[in-house]
């Protein structure tokens, strides 16, 4: 079994499902949405993140690197990605926390131990565990199945936060153990979907139909980005799709775009393509909410 890489174990997570939860962010995703605020979650392999702002160019990292893989380029100490094996030595010696390793593996036993630490809070608040990412459903299916099976057996409430872009059999395998799917829908138009997210949405929509048919509890999560998907037509397309396919949605979260992830692109040495994106106005958000209400949806909330 491949051990997936985990970016972060976020405790006291209160926007990813009911109650107080622990959210596990897995590394790696098949989409690359322009607005992704966790770009470090796209690549499946561990990576070294470099925060140029914090770096004082002291050069300690270059001296200490066992692979001799850190070189100064214009005052910045960048890792040669072909040499770096993400061992983390440079992060220990960096005085300014300018370097960090993103991606760590956990044996299932150890991960469950970490999750169990907050059991008291889940029980008190009706919370539990959320598996998120990146894309949890694209991680080792054996690992995820075994993890959810054991968590379910121990009585933890499990939510899966997914973009839907993963083989159906991965969903099928964990269906018996999962309490809720937090399912992202962004666009119905396949062309623009491919443009902004790198893949079309056939698999995503298909999986959603199947999940609903299988009786899963589904919470819809709809990121709203101007000018990507906030026109009346885009919203109406989503609503029509859900209605026509008889997809049962328990709750809907309208998630307005925010740009808090921009700086992370720099850390990865990548370019942020969404510089012109904007958050819809409060007025527009309320109009969109009204469209859902008019279509008979309930439990709609702006925000996580």
């Amino acid at each position: 079994m491949n051990f997936p890489n985990i970016i972060n174990i976020q405790k006291f997570s209160v926007h990813d499902g009911d109650g107080i939860r622990t959210t596990i962010f897995f590394k790696g995703c098949a989409l690359n949405c322009w607005w992704c605020h966790n770009p470090e979650s796209q690549n499946f392999a561990p990576e070294l993140l470099y925060n140029a702002e914090r770096c004082t160019s002291c050069g300690r990292c270059a001296e200490i690197c066992p692979q001799h893989g850190i070189k100064e380029v214009n005052g910045q100490f960048l890792a040669d990605r072909t040499k770096c094996d993400a061992c983390g030595t440079c992060t220990e010696y960096c005085l300014n926390n300018a370097r960090e390793i993103c991606g760590q593996t956990y044996a299932i036993r150890d991960l469950i131990k970490e999750i169990q630490k907050d059991q008291m809070f889940y029980e008190e608040s009706g919370g539990g565990v959320t598996l998120s990412g990146g894309e949890v459903m694209l991680q080792s299916p054996e690992y995820i199945e075994e993890l959810t099976r054991q968590l379910h057996k121990k009585g933890f409430n499990i939510a899966i936060d997914t973009c839907g872009y993963a083989p159906w059999e991965n969903y099928e395998r964990i269906l018996p153990y999962v309490d809720t799917f937090l399912y992202d829908i962004k666009l119905i138009d396949p062309e623009r979907h491919k443009k902004y997210m790198g893949q079309d949405n056939v698999l995503i929509l298909d999986n959603l139909k199947k999940l609903s048919a299988a009786g899963a509890t589904i919470n819809l999560r709809l990121p709203l980005i101007v000018p990507v998907n906030t026109d009346d037509q885009d919203i109406q397309d989503i609503i029509s799709f859900l209605k026509e396919n008889n997809i049962r949605i328990l709750k809907t979260n309208l998630l307005p775009y925010h740009n808090t992830g921009n700086h992370k692109y720099e850390k990865l040495g990548e370019e942020y393509k969404g510089v012109t994106f904007e958050k819809p106005s409060q007025e527009r958000l309320e109009e969109i909410m009204q469209q859902f209400i008019d279509a008979g949806f309930t439990n709609i909330k702006i925000g996580g």
């Binding site: 405790k11 006291f12 209160v14 010696y93 008291m120 809070f121 608040s125």
Partner: protein, 791 residues
């Protein structure tokens, strides 16, 4: 400044309370000196104390503020602070400092200074308790005290804590005088060698009953006089009712809700003018005490919720009108505040074990919400049986960001009290007073004796018993830092030093408590504390049913992270040597960025639910517990520990060099049982888990601060999150949690523009205070406390 209060009357009274600057009021010192001169040597000490108390009540100025419904001030108006020269005889320099200092100042006039110089100092200089204490202490005690190893609570203030029970609502002082007479009649002079002492004490109590009844009569007369002159018929009627109330209480038991509150207030004034005990005096379980009167009056049609709330708001103003007695020196540093710590516990359970929340509980919540005053400290007790509605209403007020109410765990308090030998009923009647200190209200003298600087003792351990700040050999010579070859060797040495300093502290305490017993009995407080009358003994002499002495451990976060830093980096990872670490500490980490980076950023730390650090915390806590708890005090009880700092963590940090966890020289140590600032990086659940690994039930109280930004606790879900955190922590036997809900920018702004933020109140330790009245260091520290966020 924001106007608060349910109506014009309350707004006006509140404005007067908030706008009046604090000043010294010399009348008490003046009258007490006259009385002592009159009686000293001719009567027993308890009688002399009672006669002086009575003399004061006969002659003091009275004051009925315009519009108020509950009467009685310590001085001739709000914010007048009496002095207690028999405890602490201030020098003229002290008084200048009080007047001139920027924070917690008290106005002093030239006449005050003249009186102090000509009358007070000549008489009290050598007679004061403070003088007696300092003379009676050993040189090593004095060295430790001056170096900030520990503080001493009783060098300027009388022993506390003192909290009221239902006693004063079921009997008046005429009834108590009868009980006292009965006890005197039962004295067995043939077989009891202490019979005469008991008779003297009981006589004193009887005189003290007279004293408080005189005060009541004088207020009744004054109200009548004012009523006669009053032209407004509504106010006239009120004054007549006040006069009638003062005819009834304190001589007789109260008959109405209004009289019950007035009764409490007279008793409060009595206790806090007889002596200046730490934590003033508290009504304790006010909702339960008032509820029978409330129910009766509502049924009788003479009270509705509006009137009931108005009377509570009048009482709140009364509390706020009384600043804590002026403190100087180390006592000021350990408790730098006007707050006098009267602490009201609302909710909890009843003596027979039912949910204690009633209609008055909700009125008290409304009152604290409306009044938003420093005093009294308004807090809630939450038990398993407490309705969620009550908890959420308390959370709703708490998230407004001024630190009240704090949350106490009823079930933990009861277990703590049972563990300390109290009966189940007494335990259920108990609660927390001061900041977070557990006590059997009305039945216990639980005396806080001073703070104990746990991280400083490591500093001394690492210097072979030498204190590098005061340059004195304070501790045992057990070797230099480099001599310890393993973590276990170091920890063994640390434990020996802890015991060494605890012994010095306890030896001092035992002498000090004896001095109070001998020279400073409190007959009035003894009347209302079970079982002083039946035992014929004073509150300060073991008369209470339970007698406990506390030493408060400070800096558990700093000491834990410091030990973890040494264990992990020096002995396990071998990242640097002990010698290199000591050099770095000597240089305040300047020039040692690698070492600083390892200890500050790359070491397991307390507050993250990481067993590596948390087990070290447990080992320090356990040793401290075993070193102190169970040792006998001189009042027939035992020593116990609690873990709280008031503002002492700032002072304790001032007297220290840099510590091995990366805390820089002279910066505050960690407060309460909260993690070191910035050490907790995994959010509030991890903090709560770490803190709950401490065995709270073996303490007499612990203090945990959590700071949230407002966005975190917004909406109905935010309330649920707060409530769930409280419930979870309490399920794990956590004793107390309080929330500061304020964003960082607001605090920085307030620091730069204090005038614009006159109203800003923040949670400091077990109490809230005006941000503008905090020292810069304490302000910085509150700003720096980790802002927990929900994602």
């Amino acid at each position: 400044m924001e106007e608060r209060g349910m109506n014009e009357r309350i707004k006006k009274l509140r404005r007067q309370s908030v706008d009046t600057p604090a000043r010294i009021y010399m009348e008490r010192a003046d009258l007490m000196t006259d009385a002592y001169k009159m009686y000293e040597g001719s009567v027993s000490v308890p009688e002399m104390r009672a006669l002086a108390f009575k003399y004061f009540m006969e002659h003091k100025h009275l004051c009925i503020n315009d519009g108020e419904l509950i009467v009685g001030e310590k001085g001739d108006g709000p914010q007048k602070s009496p002095t207690f020269p028999e405890l602490c005889c201030h020098t003229l320099e002290d008084m200048h400092v009080m007047n001139d200092r920027e924070l917690i100042s008290f106005k002093v006039t030239d006449e005050d200074l003249k009186l102090q110089e000509e009358k007070i100092i000549p008489y009290w200089e050598k007679r004061s308790i403070r003088h007696k204490i300092i003379n009676a202490m050993t040189p090593e005690w004095r060295d430790c005290y001056e170096s900030g190893i520990f503080t001493e609570f009783m060098e300027q203030r009388g022993p506390g804590h003192t909290v009221g029970s239902q006693k004063i609502y079921t009997k008046g002082f005429l009834d108590y005088q009868k009980d006292i007479q009965d006890a005197m009649d039962k004295l067995d002079f043939l077989n009891d060698p202490e019979a005469l002492d008991k008779q003297n004490e009981l006589k004193a109590m009887s005189i003290a009953c007279d004293a408080i009844m005189i005060l009541g009569k004088r207020y009744a007369a004054m109200a009548r006089e004012m009523a006669e002159k009053e032209t407004d018929p509504v106010r006239k009627e009120e004054l007549l009712q006040i006069a009638h109330n003062c005819d009834v209480v304190p001589a007789h038991k109260p008959e109405t809700y209004w009289q019950a509150i007035q009764m409490y207030w007279f008793v409060h004034l009595g206790v806090t003018t007889e002596l200046n005990p730490w934590d003033a005096y508290s009504p304790g379980r006010l909702d339960q005490h008032l509820y029978p009167f409330y129910e009766h009056d509502v049924e009788a049609g003479i009270l509705d919720d509006e009137k009931a709330l108005e009377l509570l708001e009048c009482l709140w103003v009364k509390f706020n009108n009384q600043p804590a007695p002026p403190k100087v020196g180390i006592t000021l540093k350990e408790s730098s505040t006007y707050t006098d710590f009267a602490n009201i516990n609302t909710g909890g359970i009843t003596p027979d074990g039912h949910d204690g929340v009633n209609d008055v509980s909700y009125l008290i919540l409304d009152c604290m919400d409306e009044m938003k005053l420093l005093q009294p400290s308004s807090n809630v007790q939450i038990s398993k049986k407490t309705p969620q509605r009550f908890l959420k209403r308390a959370c709703e007020i708490s998230r407004k960001g001024w630190g009240q109410p704090a949350f106490y765990n009823t079930d933990a308090i009861i277990q703590e009290l049972l563990n300390a030998g109290k009966s189940i009923e007494d335990a259920r009647r108990g609660g927390t007073s001061g900041c977070v200190e557990t006590g059997a209200f009305g039945n216990e003298a639980y005396i806080l004796t001073g703070y104990f600087n746990l991280p400083k003792i490591l500093e001394i351990t690492l210097h072979n018993g030498f204190d590098p700040v005061s340059n004195k050999q304070l501790g045992l010579k057990l070797g230099n830092a480099e001599d310890f070859k393993s973590y276990d060797e170091l920890f063994e040495a640390y434990k020996k030093q802890v015991r060494h300093f605890a012994d010095i502290k306890i030896r001092g305490n035992n002498v000090i408590e004896k001095i109070y017993k001998e020279y400073m009995p409190a007959p009035f407080l003894s009347i209302i504390t079970n079982d002083c009358i039946s035992k014929g003994k004073d509150y300060n002499g073991g008369g209470a049913r339970y007698n406990t002495s506390y030493i408060q451990g400070v800096g558990i976060g700093t000491i834990t992270d410091s030990l973890a830093a040494i264990k992990y980096n020096v002995f396990e990872q071998h990242r640097f040597t002990m010698h290199e670490l000591m050099e770095a500490l000597d240089h305040n980490f300047e020039g040692y960025p690698e070492i600083y980076n390892f200890v500050a950023n790359k070491t397991p730390k307390y507050g993250n639910d990481d067993d590596y650090a948390d087990e070290i915390m447990e080992s320090v806590f356990d040793y401290y517990y075993h070193t102190v708890s169970g040792r006998p005090n001189v009042r027939g009880g035992t020593y116990r520990i609690n873990m709280l700092p008031t503002t002492c963590h700032v002072y304790f940090g001032e007297v220290m060099l840099a510590s091995p966890n990366g805390r820089l020289a002279h910066k505050p140590v960690s407060e309460g049982i909260s993690p070191e600032k910035g050490a907790d990086v995994h959010g509030p659940t991890a903090v709560i888990k770490s803190c709950s690994k401490m065995d709270h039930l073996r303490t007499g109280g612990t203090l945990l601060n959590q700071k949230f930004t407002p966005s975190v606790v917004a909406g109905e879900e935010g309330l649920d999150n707060m409530a769930n955190l409280v419930r979870s922590y309490f399920s794990m036997d956590g004793h107390h949690i309080q929330f500061n809900v304020i964003d960082r920018q607001t605090l920085i702004d307030a620091q730069n523009n204090p005038e614009e933020y006159k109203d800003l109140i923040v949670r400091v330790a077990g109490y809230s205070d005006h941000f503008r009245n905090l020292s810069r260091a304490l302000q910085d520290e509150i700003i720096a406390r980790t802002e927990q966020s929900f994602n």
